[in-house]
Symmetry: C2
Subunit: 321 residues, 2 copies
Amino acid sequence: MLELFHDIRDELKAVENGLREVVQTNSQLLTETSTHLLNAGGKRLRPALVLFSAKFQKFELAKVLPLAVALELIHMASLVHDDVVDASLTRRGKPTVKAIWGNGISTHIGSYLFAKSLMLIAEYKDIPLISEVLSDTSVKMCEGEIQQISFSFDIHQSLKNYFYRIKRKTALLIAASAQLGAVACGAPRQIHLPLRRYGYNIGMAFQITDDILDMVAEQSKLGKPIGGDLRQGIITLPLIYALACCEKRDRLVELVCKVDKSEDEVKEALDLVRNCGAIDRSFEIARKFILKAKAELKALPDIPTRVTLSMAADFVGIRKF
Amino acid sequence: MLELFHDIRDELKAVENGLREVVQTNSQLLTETSTHLLNAGGKRLRPALVLFSAKFQKFELAKVLPLAVALELIHMASLVHDDVVDASLTRRGKPTVKAIWGNGISTHIGSYLFAKSLMLIAEYKDIPLISEVLSDTSVKMCEGEIQQISFSFDIHQSLKNYFYRIKRKTALLIAASAQLGAVACGAPRQIHLPLRRYGYNIGMAFQITDDILDMVAEQSKLGKPIGGDLRQGIITLPLIYALACCEKRDRLVELVCKVDKSEDEVKEALDLVRNCGAIDRSFEIARKFILKAKAELKALPDIPTRVTLSMAADFVGIRKF
């Protein structure tokens, strides 16, 4: 668990138990795959945000627990589905469901986890905003993934395309997490809307940092081989900048567009990106989103959780995993 | 359109338009894949059942249209996800999304269509039963698919395993369609529960007939190569019977368990199943479900739609496609 989550450690344990209960079935394969996913861990950022968000209203664990579990299930479902496309066979240092059980199982397990989240969300029938936000977010998450595939190996994509994509892929679910904890406890708009914008901005920073780490991290810390995006032809922010400013642009284009790159070619492309200032420029953008996130917090009541959320925003920008 | 659906042709046109509207996006790939799916057609059985079901209460198209569209979207999503597992490259006589665009796109398009259905279902916030039934059904559909994969090539599975699977894979969504049209128009339990049981029983008969057709149909009518289940190691009702009564059981077991069968081996196995009475016994079971479905109708008001539903049950048992 992240040190940042110390104040909500008991609640997060309840989320963990909730996740394990949800995937208890009489199907051995289902239990096995789901348990594998749970054991692979993860930061549990989305449930943590749900819990923190609820602290800005009258906090009641029973009111937010199903939601916190549902948000993590939606996230897990999207990871399993991504793995169908993704060439990487490890995630968080462990083999993916796809690597062990294949594409068919991955597709159905992802849908199963997602459908389970719907059962939890159905409990909030008195607060229609929750299912409205989450169904809209789910549609947009798929749009982001599909845009990513259709733009792969396309070096002509713009910053706008990139931001459109990461908003949908990542930021909207984090925004929903930060918003809906408060909503579930009955918070008014002047509370849950700044929380949503906070979540959106750290979500954008989170994905940009992820995309940077895929180019500069140590594999042991990242839990998967670096350069994964490059291998799959996914053009992320550092690469968009590098394509604009790299002195050896022609060579970079050639490497990026090659479908089956050798390890040496991946390394060469990564070096070109790293040595032209593109990484620093990308970090700069991430920092801007973090500042925006922290600015949103000013509209919220001055409770200790507000300080924690401010530190969480900083963490997103400096994390190495 | 099926002749049976003549009385609701205008409403089904509205469903068709609704489906096309739902998939209009500014993503070319999304629109292209979704339109491909819509143009591939289908019987639109689930929307038709929603519409018929609503006729047992005060029918209002506006009240059932989003639901009818949502039910077809859930069905389409499950077909696209099945294709990730399925070796068949055609469905309804057309290439599958997977065959043209690959597994990654199929996974995300399926999830996209499913998420779109949630947006429509969210409109029924005043009738929580609708989202409860559909989230429960969605979970169980995944359980059915996963059970199918984990039991593939397993000749020791029982009739109970088979019925467990087809209930989840097929019957529950048809049951939900037959139930929820009436629910959306405000029908009481004594109306929507018999409709649900009617739907469940025709759903079971529908899947059994499907499984029989996969062994006896003409390829041109089926829209996909026959013997698909055998090739994938899916043990369906005719095969369970054949494994119990075929004189050349050892040879049949050998053929069924072989992972990569030649065309001659598929044909030999199909002949063994066809020539031992297993097909007739399977049809007999389908007929029993149809009789049960028709018996449920007796509890409903004697309106013309009741006759149509009775004919629809008969159609399920005699269809050739």
